[in-house]
């Protein structure tokens, strides 16, 4: 402390005060240190940006094998997700410093498909996917988010089938009391009735759902067969189906009979609520199960997974949330080499297996699903075979139509969801359907207005993706 005082007094005696000298001194010293240890520069043939540390670590381990096999150098750079979007936008606009390949999250990918189709910064990968046979190995609906005007701009990294993760130690006794098994909760009607009759009286909630945004409504919308855009690229999120689905969803989170509670979808309240049993279940795409394992190791052996209940007997038992694509940019001088590298990363079964063990993410290449790691029993989930459980649902995931304005549409629907929940809580269900319908119409009209500003836009002129026709 005395040293600090003395330093302060000595510096204060300087004619211009201590600030400039101190800062200048640190600048000189740090410059000297950086001069002695300069940063290594990359002169790689291929530059690949990814935003996930888990992907990055897995890729780094297998890059040398590719480099050796092809006699080239490849540089895999970890760039934060937000930075990828900003940097890629800047690079595409300026046509400068564009990487050869890049991974983009599916909520962000659509923005890069804007504008005249021949000016999109990503290559149409259909010819390579067809020639390599990869097209047949990917669940067909998984290509939808990355397909625009019939062109496939991204190879899906994952499938992200959705299940429900639940506290078996809390739910099983309640099921037993009710004389039921988890298999009896195979429709949403049965699930909701059980939650209201047997779970809510205990003071716990059945489910955790975010009610101030749209992203926990979207999976239910997709499961019900709804979407934001149709195959022609037209806005359809104000259709009767969307209104009906939202009217079904709202009483899950609002009103006296609510069975779901909002603890936020990430962070301390979310995990603490699950640990303390404030709620029993969470919607769980494959990626979220790894987060639960890592943040709540103390729940090992207490958790299980079940498929989503269906909207009707024999209906779809899954949905999807999130996704990542790998795109090859038009800037790459050697697209064949870039595609070969993409296949090395996305179709190498050892890599896919290793990544699954750390992320629980089901890869898009179905040939990997029979590998041992995907069939392994997982103690955390009471011995369930996590990979096999998700793989069984993979071909049934709904279509998420990709679109340049998808994020805008999702934001608009999110606003309607939040406003509707708020109104239901204040005024009850009276007049709710008219309110929802009107708000969705307004939101959809806003997106249509923005859509007309897009070059080349004509209603019905943008075939996006048709189920069954990859």
């Amino acid at each position: 402390m005395k040293l600090f005082q003395s330093l302060r007094e000595r510096l204060s005696d300087l004619p211009m005060g201590p600030a400039p000298l101190l800062v200048f001194g640190v600048a000189v010293v740090s410059a000297g240190l950086l001069f002695l240890a300069p940063a290594q520069r990359s002169g790689a043939n291929l530059v690949f940006w990814t935003f996930s540390p888990d992907h990055h670590n897995a890729y780094l381990r297998v890059v040398p094998a590719f480099e050796e096999a092809h006699g080239v150098s490849a540089d895999v750079l970890l760039v934060h997700g937000t930075a990828i979007n900003q940097r890629l936008s800047s690079a595409f606009w300026a046509r400068a410093n564009v990487p050869d390949m890049v991974e983009v999250e599916n909520t962000q990918s659509g923005q890069f498909f804007r504008g005249p189709i021949d000016q999109v910064g990503f290559r149409d990968l259909r010819p390579w996917l067809e020639a390599s046979g990869m097209l047949d190995r990917i669940p067909e609906n998984r290509l939808a988010p990355y397909t625009h005007q019939g062109r496939i701009f991204g190879i899906p990294h994952d499938v992200h089938p959705m299940m429900l993760a639940y506290r078996a130690d809390l739910l099983d006794p309640l099921l037993e009391q009710a004389g039921l098994t988890i298999d009896d909760l195979d429709t949403w009607d049965a699930y909701i009735a059980f939650a209201r009759d047997h779970v809510r009286p205990t003071g716990r909630y059945m489910l955790q759902l975010e009610d101030a945004a749209g992203y926990n409504f979207e999976p239910f919308l997709y499961q019900a067969g709804g979407d934001f855009f149709n195959a022609d690229g037209e806005v359809i999120f104000d259709s009767d189906l969307v209104v009906e689905t939202l009217m079904w969803w709202l009483p899950l989170v609002a009103g006296e009979d609510a069975i779901a509670v909002n603890f936020g979808s990430w962070g301390a309240p979310f995990f603490r609520g699950l640990e303390e049993g404030d709620y029993i279940m969470v919607v769980a795409p494959d990626w979220r199960t790894a987060g639960i394992e890592r943040n709540l190791p103390q729940l090992s052996g207490k958790m299980r997974l079940m498929p989503l209940p269906a909207f009707g007997p024999g209906g779809r038992r899954t949905s999807t949330w999130g996704g990542t694509m790998l795109g090859i940019t038009t800037a790459t001088p050697d697209p064949d080499l870039a595609f070969a590298f993409a296949m090395h990363l996305y179709a190498d079964l050892d890599i896919l297996e290793e990544k699954f063990q750390t992320t629980n993410i089901l890869p898009a290449d179905r040939t990997a699903w029979s590998r041992p790691a995907f069939q392994a029993e997982r103690p955390y989930w009471q011995g369930q075979r996590l990979g096999a459980e998700f793989a069984a649902l993979a071909d049934d995931i709904p279509v998420q139509t990709g679109h340049p304005f998808l994020q805008l549409a999702k934001d608009q629907v999110g606003n309607v969801v939040a406003a509707s929940v708020s109104r239901w809580r204040r005024q009850g269900p009276e007049g709710m359907e008219d309110f929802v319908r009107e708000r969705l119409h307004q939101a959809a009209d806003y997106v249509r207005l923005q859509l007309r500003r897009m070059p080349d836009w004509e209603a019905g002129a943008l075939p996006a993706f048709e189920e069954g026709q990859p």
């Binding site: 400039p20 600048a27 970890l78 934060h80 800047s90 300026a94 400068a96």
Partner: protein, 287 residues
């Protein structure tokens, strides 16, 4: 000055003035606790294991505290390199900004030339352009200058801080013209007058601006995130942000890193607090 002791009423209670003091202190302490809570949370979070992270709101029991987050910060990510990068970029930028801003402020305050008012107006208007609007053109410019993925790409665009020019101009307007003339009469050159006459007079402004510029550059996130690509060039905010994963966050290391990252700013503040406060309050009580 000797402090006045609390007065007691004949019945032994505190008098009105004493109660007022107590209430003021209680209010100040409450407000201070609100402001300090995030810092305490940060410290607590940096010594918790992942298992305890969500279990305890603040500190876990002493036997469960750990320094492993700090260890993993240095073993898993190149923290010392990022710290060095941040120090270099920040201190170089601040040094150059100080020079540029004080020279600009001196010219605008002590010289009379055609277009002076227009120039000042243009500088102030430029402050109103949101930074994200300039991202793409600036990126293209830097690309053609071959400055993408370099520290120079961070330093050069930030050389002139308009707020600094404005602060120095305002402070230097108070320098009496006679003092400048006296310098000339004594044979000092124009730079000599700036260096030996003007700068010592605006010493509080130098301290205040150093701290403002240091904090702004040290915490800068958007532009470095766009410009820097090589891991070894990352500054601390970018490097810490890499710990935020898509599927999982390493909260402990993130909090430990954030704690270490705020220390230089805190240290600088304590070193410069006298200058900083007098710089900000300069002219506030002028009659």
């Amino acid at each position: 000055m000797k402090k006045k002791p609390f007065m007691k009423t004949p019945s032994g209670g505190l008098d009105r003035e004493a109660w007022t003091t107590v209430m003021i202190w209680l209010t100040l302490v409450s407000v201070a606790m609100i402001f300090l809570a995030p810092i305490v949370y940060l410290v607590a979070a940096s010594v918790k294991t992942m298992e305890d992270f969500h279990r305890y709101s603040f500190f876990p029991p002493p036997d469960r505290m750990t320094l492993s987050n700090f260890a993993s910060l240095f073993s898993q990510v190149n923290f010392s390199r990022f710290l060095l990068n941040s120090l270099f970029v920040t201190c170089t930028t601040v040094t150059l900004q100080l020079l540029m801003a004080s020279l600009g402020g001196y010219a605008l305050a002590c010289y009379r030339f055609r277009g002076q008012q227009g120039l000042m107006l243009m500088l102030l208007v430029s402050m109103m352009i949101p930074a994200p609007v300039m991202l793409a053109p600036l990126y293209e410019l830097l690309f053609h200058m071959r400055l993408i993925d370099t520290h120079a790409g961070l330093i050069i665009p930030g050389l002139v801080n308009v707020l600094g020019v404005f602060l120095f101009r305002q402070a230097m307007l108070n320098i009496p013209a006679d003092l400048v003339h006296a310098g000339r009469v004594d044979g000092a050159g124009e730079f000599g007058i700036y260096w030996h006459v003007a700068l010592p007079v605006v010493r509080p402004t130098i301290g205040a601006f150093t701290l403002i510029a240091f904090m702004g550059t040290w915490n800068s996130f958007l532009w470095p995130q766009v410009v820097l690509q090589s891991n070894e060039l990352f500054t601390l905010p970018i490097a810490l942000n890499q710990l935020v994963g898509l599927y999982n966050d390493d909260y402990g290391a993130l909090m430990a890193g954030t704690l270490l990252a705020v220390l230089p700013v805190v240290l600088l503040f304590f070193l410069l607090q006298k200058e900083f406060i007098s710089g900000l309050t300069e002219g506030a009580v002028k009659g």
